[in-house]
Each structure stands twice: as structure tokens, then as C-alpha cells.
Symmetry: C2
């Protein structure tokens, strides 16, 4: 029994993923695709697919094909999301629509999604129908999450329940499904598939909550971002949603005023409201709930504990960031 | 042996396709999808899938699932193409991006493509991998065709070979693949699959060439469109591409001048150049080549002639329009 760490699998995947996934012509369609994949990324989802497989059996060739499929799907969503968000940069580089125009960016995303399905068609597993169904269900959910995210932009009455659901659809389900797809290949039963899916789902939610928290309360030197960046950008976060729910009339009025205040005043003012409403405690507690649920889901998987070590270490690494 | 006509299968499909293919929520994502499918269409591709199946065997449940998949794929391409083309209308009704915004139109197309794959995942055929591969190859080609179409817009030196390839990718391969997918379900061997694919490919090209021809030389009362509409819109057509290849220096200069001339003068001037360069004869001959190739491909299919009658009648109907 040789288990691999997340870092090992992510690196192995990156080496394999560096090969070309597209034809050469027309270059006007495929150069943008190659450009975008070249921007890199942590390759978390494909590594999860491989880890989900290895939890139950030695990693098989099909898992590599499906790892490529989920990473192509993820990059398709990024290309299209960037168009919708009018984002100029991704990983510090020009986005596809900025560099090649929106029409080409739409088509490049489309073809990347299709090529992802082509990798699925290459697998030999007898579970191909089940895997295709799970992949489709997940893809539909990610689209729904992005639509809800856009819908929420123009609303100031988004509830925490709605927001949690949106984050789950937009970010957690793909992490969860990547693990489950790997586990199906490994021969996991339905109970174990369910548990590993929930591990990924809870891990994803805890991580996203932590991410929002650290943007306000992280150690700037360790976190590597400007503290309060989300506040300045008026971005909806777990903190803001909770504050909108918890604030009294005076605080709501102050939040409306701060909307258009200078950056420094806006950050200080919002942080004060967060503290007054105990939003920080509440959000830390919310993350803790999902963190514990993730470890519980991991416990629920019926394989010997030692095999779970790489997933446990990954959760430790992702969720025990210093505040 | 009860064979069905194109009209019968198209109508049966339309009745079945009228059921809902999407969840209810979020309505902001799925209402646009339902709206667009409600605009109708001739449902040619799904009928071809059913006809391809029935040429070799009684129509099976899988064929209906795949018919829905190809029609959803086709509608996905229309929604995204309309964004790229900035088209305000489709079938006389407001396009999705005009009615709901570009971001939602991108996502609605995306989710429609994914739901198409979900219908594929429902089939029971042992040929699911082969069908998925053919569907993916076709989808990639359609994307390439759309990209080439956009690339050609800004070029005045597009060759007939390039233009034929673009039209084949953008419109013919999906017709061809719809037939082939049905034939795979029906148990057709590789030779017959190849022949029915070529029938669809040649039929599609002949129809597209005829369509361009009729826009200039059709009987306006029968054709139901303004004669010369493509010329007024400076749309690339088989006629224009051929004229650009065949014109002498003086004619080229005149074509450049006509670009910005008033509509009536532009149509009359271009028609004169088409006549002088014998573009009309040439394009009629080109259509005739593909029409004959389509009938030859139909001949090449090794089933008794009577079974081919519905496909023959469809070709007759589509390609023997009066000039």
C-alpha cells in the first residue's frame, strides 16, 4: 500500500496535463485554450479525483482521463465566468476575453467543455454511465451556482441559507464530485461514495468561509492579499451576508452610507459593524461546523484509517491556516 | 416493415420534445432555456437521428433520447452564435441575450449543452462510448466552424475550399452525425455508417449552396424572403466567394465600390457581376455535384431500396426547390 500525498498527485497531474489537449487548427480557436491552461492553477480537482480513486484501489488509467476532464471543466467555467464578471485578469494574466475578444472566449470555453467530455468517452470503466451522470449533474449545479451568484449581485436581501447554497453549487460540488468520481473507479460502494462526496462538500464550504474570513481578519504578511479587499470591492461574503442579517436599523443605515465611502473609511467602518454584530465570531463558528463535518465525513468512509491519511493531511493543510 | 416519413417523425419528435427538459429553479437560468426551445424550429436533426435508426431497425427508446440530445446541442449553438453575431431576432422573436442579457445567455447555452449530455447518459446501448465520441467530435467541429465563420468575416481572400470546409463544419457535420448516431443504434456496420454520414454531409452542403443561390435567384413569392438580402447585408455566400475568385481587376474594384452603395444599386450591381462571371451557373453546378453525391451515398447504403424511401423523399423535398 503506497499512498500518495495531495502534493505528489497534483505535481504528477500537472506534468501530465502539460501535454496538448487540442488540435492545432484553427489556431484562432485553440491558441486561446492553450494560453489559458498555461496560466496554471493548483490542479486541486484532478488531484482529488486521483485521491478518491487511491483511497479504494491503486490509481488506474481511467482516473487520469477523468482528472483531465474535471480540470478542463473547471477551466471552462473560469473562462466563461471571467466574461460574465468582465474580469481583466486571472492569475495575474490577461483573461481570454480581454486578449482574444468575447466571442472567441465563449467558443473557447465551449470547446474546452466538449473536450472534457471527450476524455470521459475514453474511459474503459463499466461505470461510465454513472460517472457521466454525476459529471453532468455537477456541471448543471455549477451553472446554477454561477447564475445565482449573478442574481445575488443586484440584491441586498440575500439570506445566509441562499448564500450557502450558492457557494455550495458554485464551488463545493465540483470538489465533492471529483472525489466521488475517483471513488467510483476504485469500486467504492454507495455509502462510501456518499461519505467522500460529503467530505469534499464540507471541506469546500469550510475553505470558502475561511477564505472570506481571512480577507478581513487574516495576517496580511502571511495571507498575501490586501486586508479588506472584499469590503472595498463591495463583494458579497459570508461576513457581509451575516452582517446584513444581524444589523439593526442604525447599522443598516451606516452600511448603506459606507457603500460609497473612501476605501480606508469603508473597511474600518464595516469591520466595526462586523465586530459590533459579532459577525467574526459567528463566521469562525460556521467554518468550524463545516470543518468538523468534513472530518466526520472522512471518519464515515469504511476503509482503514491509514489510507485516509492523505485526505486528512489535505484538510489539515487547507483548513488550519493561521488567523 | 413500417417506415415513417420525415414529416411524421419530425412531428412525433416535436410532441415529445415539448415536455420540460430543465429543473424549475433557478428560474433566472431555466426560463430563458424554455423560452428559446419554445421558439420552435423544424427539428430536422432529431428527425434524422430517428430516420437513421429506422433505416436499419425499428426505432428504439435510445434513439428518442439521442434525438433530444442533438436538438439541445443545436439550440445551444444557436444561443451562443446569436450572442457572437449580436443577432436581435431568431425566428422572428427576441434572442436570449437580447431578452435576458449576454451573461445569462452564455450560461443558458452552457447548461443546455450539459443537459444534452445528460440525455446521452440515459441510453442503454452498448455503443454508448462510440456514440459519445462521435457526438464530441461533431461538437468540436461545429465550434471550429463557428470560429472560422467569424475569422472569415474580416477577410476578403477566403477561398472556395476554405468556405466549403467552414460550411461543412458549421452546418453539415451535425446533420451527418445525427443520421450516423441513429444508424449506430440500429446496428449498422462501419461501411453503412460511413455512407449515411456522407449522405447527410452532402445533403447539408447541397442545401446550403441552394439556400445561398435562392437568396439571389429564387422566386420571391415562393421563397418568402427579400431577394438579394444576403447581398445587402454583405454576407459571405457561395456566390460572393466565387465572384471574388473569378472577378477581374475592374470587377473587383466595382465590388469594392458597391460595398457601400445604396441597397437597390448594390443588389443590381452584384447580380450583374455574378452574371458576367457566370457565378450563377457555377453555383448551380456545385449544388448539383453535392446533390448527386448525396443520392450516390444513399445508394451506397446496403439495405433494401424501399427502406431508403423516406430519406430519398426528404432529399427530393429539400433539394428540388424551384428556382
Amino acid at each position: 500500500m503506497t499512498m500518495h500525498s495531495f502534493e505528489e498527485l497534483s505535481a504528477q497531474f500537472a506534468a501530465r496535463f502539460a501535454s496538448r489537449h487540442f488540435p492545432d487548427h484553427p489556431a484562432t480557436l485553440y491558441d486561446p485554450a492553450v494560453y489559458f491552461l498555461g496560466l496554471g492553477g493548483k490542479r486541486i480537482r484532478p488531484a482529488l479525483c486521483l485521491m478518491g480513486n487511491e483511497l479504494f484501489a491503486p490509481i488506474e488509467e481511467d482516473a487520469w482521463q477523468l482528472a483531465i476532464a474535471v480540470e478542463l471543466f473547471h477551466n471552462f467555467t473560469l473562462i466563461h465566468d471571467d466574461i460574465m464578471d468582465k474580469a481583466p485578469l486571472r492569475r495575474g494574466m490577461t483573461t481570454v476575453h480581454e486578449k482574444y475578444g468575447s466571442s472567441t472566449a465563449i467558443l473557447t470555453g465551449d470547446v474546452m467543455l466538449v473536450v472534457g467530455y471527450d476524455y470521459i468517452s475514453r474511459i474503459r470503466s463499466p461505470h461510465i454511465r454513472r460517472i457521466l451522470q454525476l459529471y453532468n449533474q455537477t456541471a448543471v449545479k455549477v451553472c446554477e451556482g454561477q447564475q445565482l451568484d449573478m442574481d445575488f449581485e443586484s440584491r441586498s436581501d440575500v439570506t445566509m441559507t441562499e448564500y450557502l447554497q450558492m457557494i455550495e453549487l458554485k464551488t463545493s460540488v465540483l470538489l465533492a464530485a471529483s472525489l466521488q468520481i475517483g471513488s467510483i473507479l476504485g469500486g467504492a460502494g454507495l455509502g462510501n461514495q456518499h461519505a467522500i462526496y460529503n467530505f469534499g462538500r464540507n471541506l469546500g464550504l469550510a475553505f470558502q468561509i475561511q477564505d472570506d474570513y481571512l480577507d478581513c481578519y487574516g495576517d496580511a504578511s502571511k495571507f498575501g492579499k490586501q486586508v479588506g479587499g472584499d469590503i472595498v470591492a463591495s463583494k458579497k461574503t459570508f461576513l457581509l451576508i451575516k452582517a446584513q442579517e444581524a444589523a439593526n436599523a442604525a447599522q443598516r443605515k451606516e452600511m448603506t452610507r459606507l457603500e460609497s465611502a473612501p476605501a480606508a473609511e469603508k473597511v474600518a467602518g464595516m469591520l466595526q459593524i462586523f465586530t459590533d454584530c459579532k459577525v467574526d465570531d459567528w463566521v469562525r463558528e460556521l467554518k468550524e461546523q463545516y470543518r468538523l463535518a468534513a472530518y466526520q465525513s472522512l471518519e464515515d468512509i469504511a476503509v482503514i484509517s491509514k489510507r485516509k491519511e492523505p485526505l486528512r493531511q489535505l484538510a489539515d493543510f487547507l483548513l488550519q491556516r493561521e488567523y
